[in-house]
Subunit: 440 residues, 2 copies
Amino acid sequence: MTEAEATIVALETSDIRFPTSVDLDGSDAMNRDPDYSAAYVVVHTSAGDAHEGHGFAFTIGRGNDVQVAAIDALRPHVVGRPLQATLDHLGDFYRDLVHDSQLRWLGPEKGVLHMAISAVVNAMWDLKAKREGKPLWRLLADLSPEQVVELVDFRYLTDALTPDEALAILKRAEAGKAERAAQLLEQGYPAYTTSPGWLGYDDEKLTRLCKEAVRDGFDQIKLKVGADLDDDRRRLQLARDVCGPDIRIAIDANQRWDVGTAISWIKELAPADPWWVEEPTSPDDVLGHAAIARAVAPVRVATGEHVANRVVFKQLLQAEAISFLQLDAARVAGVNENIAILLLAAKFDIPVCPHAGGVGLCELVQHLSMFDFVAVSGSLERRTIEYIDHLHEHFADPVVIQSGRYVAPTAPGFSSTMKAESRTRHTYPDGPVWTTFQGG
Amino acid sequence: MTEAEATIVALETSDIRFPTSVDLDGSDAMNRDPDYSAAYVVVHTSAGDAHEGHGFAFTIGRGNDVQVAAIDALRPHVVGRPLQATLDHLGDFYRDLVHDSQLRWLGPEKGVLHMAISAVVNAMWDLKAKREGKPLWRLLADLSPEQVVELVDFRYLTDALTPDEALAILKRAEAGKAERAAQLLEQGYPAYTTSPGWLGYDDEKLTRLCKEAVRDGFDQIKLKVGADLDDDRRRLQLARDVCGPDIRIAIDANQRWDVGTAISWIKELAPADPWWVEEPTSPDDVLGHAAIARAVAPVRVATGEHVANRVVFKQLLQAEAISFLQLDAARVAGVNENIAILLLAAKFDIPVCPHAGGVGLCELVQHLSMFDFVAVSGSLERRTIEYIDHLHEHFADPVVIQSGRYVAPTAPGFSSTMKAESRTRHTYPDGPVWTTFQGG
């Protein structure tokens, strides 16, 4: 088998779940008892270089098996492909998956099938980066503007962003690229922490974790809101008192409200000066977000972790509905669609502040934000990546936070590889963590 | 086992596919080679009355197994429930499925998981209607306005439609209900036919099928467009010549265009007087549809078969993006969410003209339109149900078309029961139709 003849020989999937609901980690107004889970993919090749591509869709427990079944449905598009030609044209690969004329019916471009595509596309990017010996952010930043444009599917975007406009954005960012990469390696990328603010935590724990966040150097924290207005007022004021006036405090309603309720609730919380209000209503409601944004200004609206695809992001930008765009690494169709989203945000001059947490999402999104800084927006202004101190110990190349900033990863790949032992232990329902599980 | 103790004892699923791609039935600009398929559900009870509830999600082939896996994931919400109490409160049942705090992550309220909920919810409505000895449209029309409102989930709708407004719409329609039901039984409900217009058909077949449609009494047909402008112009003019000026000719682009292309393409076809243009762009693009509608008026825009949920329909209405709302029986979460959509359409005074075809969709949507006529909008004006002459022979209570109109069904149930022999024969991959399949 020569290198030129190497192919993709297997797409291995597994259902991996962590029993996080026991401690109410991750509890919010809509997600009461998540068990953070990964529908996990390993791409195997015949190249003989020992490199595997790792990726996953993130879910919160039940239904992770459905997510695995969706990834399995993509196997015929992957196995048997020539390795190098596929890695050289990941734009074509991504478009092949998205435009399968029968599978497309299950979305189109949304939900279970789209998240499955994200897992596979991200695994291929991990493989490519490992083979090229670069962390993904660096690999992407080293592409030419023309190569980046080739990765994007502009279908349904051209009324807001044409290939020529995308190219111009990327060319504008060519100046200073090397300096920004050096700055990134030296100083890292700003982070904020959601760890203090889960709804399931009592006031004592909230206070303690706020103090720790400030001590650890974070200049922004986030609190979950939306279940009870009096509780929200008290918790927000408590956090403000502990953190002082200079720490940004974002609030996150996790889609709890209708438009009218959102507006009145946010106005009640406005005196505590929230930095943004996140997911005030349905992630599908572009016009609703726009109405809320107009009504609660100067409080800023943020959303994105449940936004289904680039077409919805396009509209949120067109409608001036958001002041922060919170992309997710594994809900839209992976790296390629997220490049389109970064370009859209740059076009509309809206900062991208990715959603993270869960399991492995911090590991993934850091690469996207760092690519954005070096090669797309060229800016750190109002930009920060969510950080939650959960489950990183299960990853081979876990995120590193120093003084409230993400340290730029230098190991080759997408930081997406979960340790083999962690995968074995947490396989559902037959891994030892689950066969011995006593319930929450 | 007394009737009061009866429970739901099993949720049986199966993967049923028809090799329709062989004849290019159903071919359009985005769906080149569909194999019409059903992820099929049978609800079994311990009631001893021999009634089963039948429902299904419709797909076009690959991925139907993923759809079945999603229905299987709902089983714990269904099996073991008390039968009568569940059927008496199908609003609660539907909301339980939609708001499972872990499964919700896979949508929320869109794609594979949402279609799975539609299959289960529709099966429960079929069961209820069979047990009450009524066709579903009649069962729904016999409910009080208060009972209908109780079936709806108003979350994310109240900025456009409150429960009180919904109640007022339903109370307004109380007058004349009996007369409209009698009219329906006597005259049926208007239909239009898509059978002549598939892209895979040549001009001779198009001409012949247009003549047959007019001869059969249809006053509206639909042609697929969007692959080639010259072909579209020729085919549309051919159909206009064959049908004459009095037959409405709708055109359907199946999401083929970006916003700018849609506008210029539709303007090119406008001289042939299309009645509506359907799915000009992404079903997620509310603002895009609105921009197209403004630019191509007086040509009217229609969409809905791929609209993910009531929140997107709400926005299409708020943005004045559509002149016809094309609900689908099995993409949103079944009867309950479609009642919300009928009420939204009534509030905005937009006629509902359901998407049908595929396998079994005609059987389902007729009940929703007939309920709309009798008890919601109270009108037939500009209203018509899609009809395609495919695969009805596989159903126990198939639709009946007379003189271009749907005959109101009178058999108990939702007309959703596929014959047992058809299900066995078309089970994928082990049924005899597939084990002996020679390819297309």
